[in-house]
Symmetry: C2
């Protein structure tokens, strides 16, 4: 794929929107059976009697869906070099079957790497919202991106 975006294209204050993506019950159960098989993620009947009242998506599934939104939104067209980590993941509201998630990304900080010439760091805030406009999760993450201009 042709690269459209380099580090210079993500200045502080830059905003990106992605989504929506629908979340189906089968996907919630499939993810959770593999990675997070707690009752309220995999068993509709037991979930009904949990404090959530319905199946809910694993928090890690919500993060993974956010990543997919970021990929489709702009990351696959960016000179991305991976990420050293994530801060402050907050799972704020349950994600339920039939929900549709969107993502708003905001650049909090952008700087060139001191140790690696030609590489920039971008610190993002991601806000993941459902079809009602409720924020279901927030996180901060840092991405490494190749610079267009190495000077």
């Amino acid at each position: 794929m042709t690269l459209k975006y380099y580090w210079e294209d993500f200045p502080v204050g830059d905003k990106r929107h992605a989504g929506p993506v629908a979340v189906r019950a089968e996907e919630i159960v499939d993810f959770a059976r593999k990675f997070d098989p707690q009752d309220f993620h995999i068993d509709e009947e037991l979930a009904r009697h949990s404090r959530f009242g319905t199946l809910i998506a694993s928090g890690w599934h919500v993060c993974a869906l956010a990543m997919r939104l970021i990929c489709d939104g702009f990351l696959l067209e960016s000179a991305g070099l991976g990420s050293p980590g994530v801060d402050k993941v907050r799972w704020k509201q349950p994600v339920r079957p039939g929900d549709a998630l969107s993502l708003d990304a905001l650049v909090l900080e952008a700087r060139r790497s001191e140790s690696r010439p030609g590489v920039g760091l971008v610190r993002w805030h991601w806000d993941i919202t459902n079809q009602l406009g409720q924020s279901v999760a927030e996180l901060e993450t840092t991405g490494m991106v190749r610079c267009r201009n190495t000077a």
Copy 2:
């Protein structure tokens, strides 16, 4: 499943070990195709020419595998009530096909909820290591657990 562990069973300093779990190339690609389809996660040939030199697992896949280790290690036998979030995920080393991951969990903080009687909070440090004993990822996360004694 019968519950063995309640909030009281996770005092500060409590340590739990889980794993290992093997990471196969097909699983790396399968996860990444769904959630994080960057070249170095899904395409062996392109990965070879990336800065990593081989396919590597999505960081979110590593987190999901850690969650599975926690589930099998003790969470499914615990009176768990979900999690409000995670702090400080650090992806420190690439996870490659054929790696085997283990997890060491340590309780950093344990307190009763002020707003919800009968519920306790446990803040954990997770260290995820590969078969060479290298730490590949670390994170801090908080879990809610029902108390055995509500008083």
